[in-house]
């Protein structure tokens, strides 16, 4: 299978522009940190299809560009597991070093960039050989990882240094750093690639970085009614495909903020479960899935009415959600 991999990837990359490529199983995958499993749900009925045992403490989830594989970072197993989307079983294990949490893939799907909190490095893994080909020293406790659309820049947050580093993966070094709010966690990029949004968990804010100069252009504050700044801990963030709307999970404040990207104005706060962190939109942008780490459930939000319409029981401490559609 490995031998075929580059070809498959190349094909997938070529076809990726056409949205119809996805197999569209509709499956919703949820990683739960304390169950050492990724749960697959039927996208329509939201019933459990299969509980897939993985390495210890699965966290971030991401599909290969062709959606045949789902990668799961398993923090306490020091590896990334490869789940076959057709058979719903772990078919490969990629050792990546101590305590991986968040990662991203190169646009061609050949390279995996993973933050390793313990060593304060960004690990660069070649997926064909499943070997590390390099690592870049970044600020303490790197967390969120995002690869630019052209694959030339990898952005990494440093939780303890309150920095976002722009890494050149070829040169293997940090090109620029930008000081953002306290404890920066995760990213969303506008579809045109000009603005990088980063959540600051303790800063209770989102910093907007202009990618051209790698400078902070604006900082968004969140004030859901009845909560203080100390209760607002933004972590998960995602953007609609048209780049008009951003959704920010506010953690302890139990709400998701809806932000108009153009005006940078907060339009709404949607009540969800306890410690809302990971969130993912389906392809149509109509449903937003929110992992609530402390209430052990997932809220399904209707983005048109901006209401949580259903709560799904998830495993213990749900972390991330990936949808195959």
């Amino acid at each position: 299978m490995n031998r075929m991999h580059p070809l498959a990837v190349a094909l997938a990359a070529a076809l990726l522009a056409a949205p119809a490529v996805a197999k569209d199983t509709g499956l919703v995958f949820i990683s739960s940190e304390k169950d050492n499993a990724v749960t697959a749900l039927d996208g329509k009925t939201l019933e459990v299809v299969k509980v897939i045992p993985t390495g210890k403490r699965p966290r971030d989830l991401m599909f290969s560009p062709d959606h045949t594989k789902l990668y799961a970072a398993c923090g306490d197993a020091d590896r990334v597991d490869v789940i076959d989307v057709a058979t719903l079983a772990v078919t490969g294990r990629i050792p990546v070093g101590e305590d991986p949490e968040m990662f991203d893939l190169s646009p061609d799907g050949r390279t995996l960039y993973v933050s390793r909190e313990e060593d304060s490095v960004l690990g660069i893994i070649d997926l064909a050989t499943r070997k590390q080909t390099g690592e870049v020293k970044v600020g303490g406790e790197p967390e969120g990882v995002l690869v630019s659309a052209d694959g030339r820049t990898v952005y990494v947050t440093s939780e303890v240094a309150s920095l976002v580093s722009a890494v050149d993966p070829v040169a293997g070094k940090v090109m620029k750093t930008a000081k953002v709010g306290n404890r920066p966690r995760r990213f969303a990029m506008t579809p045109d690639g000009t603005q990088l949004w980063v959540t600051n968990e303790l800063g209770a804010s989102v910093s907007i970085i202009e990618t051209a100069g790698h400078t902070v252009a604006a900082t968004l504050k969140f004030e859901p009614k009845g909560f203080r700044a100390d209760d607002v801990s933004p972590v998960g963030i995602t953007m609609s495909a048209d780049g008009r709307t951003a959704y920010v999970a506010l953690g302890k404040a139990n709400h998701v903020a809806v932000v108009d990207v153009a005006s940078r104005a907060v339009q709404d706060y949607i009540l969800v479960g306890k410690r809302a962190w990971g969130l993912t939109l389906d392809r149509s942008g109509q449903r937003l899935f929110v992992a609530n780490g402390l209430s052990d459930d997932v809220s399904v939000v209707d983005t048109a009415t901006r209401k949580a319409v259903k709560t799904i029981r998830a495993g213990r401490v749900p972390h991330s959600i990936a949808i195959d559609d």
């Binding site: 909190e117 313990e118 600020g139 406790e141 303890v160 000081k179 404890r183 203080r228 100390d230």
Partner: protein, 391 residues
């Protein structure tokens, strides 16, 4: 004459400012042969007590801050010194050595009386002291100083956290056992105030004593000491730790032991697994070859607060840095899930308190439901209207 010397000292600083502009020199002042860190004592691993010198916490913080400091054009330096004894002259000698080396911020790991004397004597020297191990309430009250900050929680904060938890469990009737040391009485005073504040009922207060004197044997007998009274929890004020540890599972009634053993309020616990704590615990364990304890965390967070403040103050100017530390803008990430800052009224770092037992944490205080008009963290320890700090 003293004023003259101060002026000379200031002039010297002004002259060399350009050279040290981008350096933040942090001192760490400890005690040589500190009885708290004597090997046989550490082996007991009493709850709420140090596991070794908290210098290790400061070292870990320096290491993890270097990348951020570099990005800010700041160079970090940590110098440590040990006083030969806890008398004023020895302490002052070691302190002066650190200051001569350029430190304008000194982490202090000294017994309360020695810290008190030093803080009094250096009130106007332009050097900020950060207390990383003494939990005495008086240092934050009548004995407070403008240049003295505290990252170690006070006895009052620890007692308030415990009282909130007992109230939340509806374990309101408490039997108190108190030891023979003056510090035991101070700890009990903090708990008594907390009981009043949150509505616990102390059903009786009894004294214990560990002694070889056969006539005092009853005073060390937990079964006798806990007889004849109904209670929900057994609170023990024992700053030494031996009696409290041995009181576990030896009371008359099947009730939890709290306070100095059993369920103990702590600044930090190695088993906390949220808010990035595992990474910090691992870093500390690798560095110090032992689990992180409260004072280690207090030293760690003191350095973190300094680096955070230095990111907002040009050239790490000491007076402005102190003002920023004490001001409303500071947000320190203490890996306990809350935004930490120093209380303007007594220089205490507001922070959650863990209610910990052997290998776990039952809860983090402020406990859900204990509310405050401004910041729920200020339900722990003296709030602004109650402060006894008049400096």
């Amino acid at each position: 004459m003293r004023r003259l010397r101060l002026a000379a000292c200031l002039a010297a600083v002004l002259v060399v400012t350009p050279a040290i502009a981008a350096e933040l020199a942090i001192g760490f002042l400890g005690l040589a042969d500190d009885p708290r860190y004597e090997r046989t004592r550490l082996e007991h691993q009493f709850q709420g007590q140090p596991g070794g010198s908290p210098l290790a916490g400061a070292e870990v913080a320096i290491e993890e801050s270097e990348f951020a400091a570099e990005a800010q054009g700041l160079k970090l330096r940590l110098d440590s010194a040990e006083a030969a004894g806890d008398d004023a002259a020895s302490v002052r000698g070691a302190f002066d050595g650190l200051v001569a080396g350029g430190a304008k911020f000194v982490l202090v790991d000294l017994p309360p009386a020695a810290l008190d004397a030093l803080a009094q004597a250096t009130r106007t020297g332009g050097v900020t002291l950060i207390n990383v191990s003494a939990s005495d309430d008086a240092l934050r009250a009548a004995r407070c100083q403008p240049q003295l900050l505290h990252t170690m929680p006070s006895e009052a904060m620890l007692a308030d956290g415990l009282a909130q938890y007992l109230v939340s469990r509806k374990w309101r009737k408490v039997l108190v056992l108190v030891g023979p040391r003056p510090e035991d009485q101070l700890r009990l005073a903090a708990f008594t105030a907390a009981a009043r504040r949150f509505g616990l009922k102390i059903v009786d207060t009894r004294s214990f004593r560990l002694s070889n004197d056969p006539r005092e044997r009853d005073l060390g007998n937990v079964a006798l000491l806990t007889a004849g009274e109904d209670y929900d929890a057994l609170y023990i004020a024992d700053t030494d730790g031996e009696f409290a540890r041995d009181a576990n599972y030896r009371g008359q009634l099947p009730r939890p032991t709290v306070g100095s053993a059993g369920l103990a309020p702590e600044a930090w616990h190695w088993s906390w697994e949220r808010n990035g704590a595992p990474q910090l615990n691992n870093r500390f364990l690798k560095h110090a070859k032992r689990p992180m304890r409260g004072a280690d965390w207090a030293a760690w967070v003191a350095v973190k607060a300094l680096v955070e403040a230095a990111g907002h103050v040009p050239d790490a100017d000491p007076a402005k840095l102190l003002a920023y530390l004490r001001g409303p803008e500071l947000v320190v990430d203490g890996f306990k899930g809350a935004r930490l800052s120093f209380r303007a009224w007594d220089g205490q770092l507001r922070q959650p308190v863990f209610l910990a037992f052997g290998n776990g944490v039952a809860a983090s205080a402020p406990v859900d439901g204990f509310l405050h008009p401004v910041n729920a963290l200020d339900t722990l320890g003296p709030d602004q209207p109650d402060t006894q700090c008049r400096r």
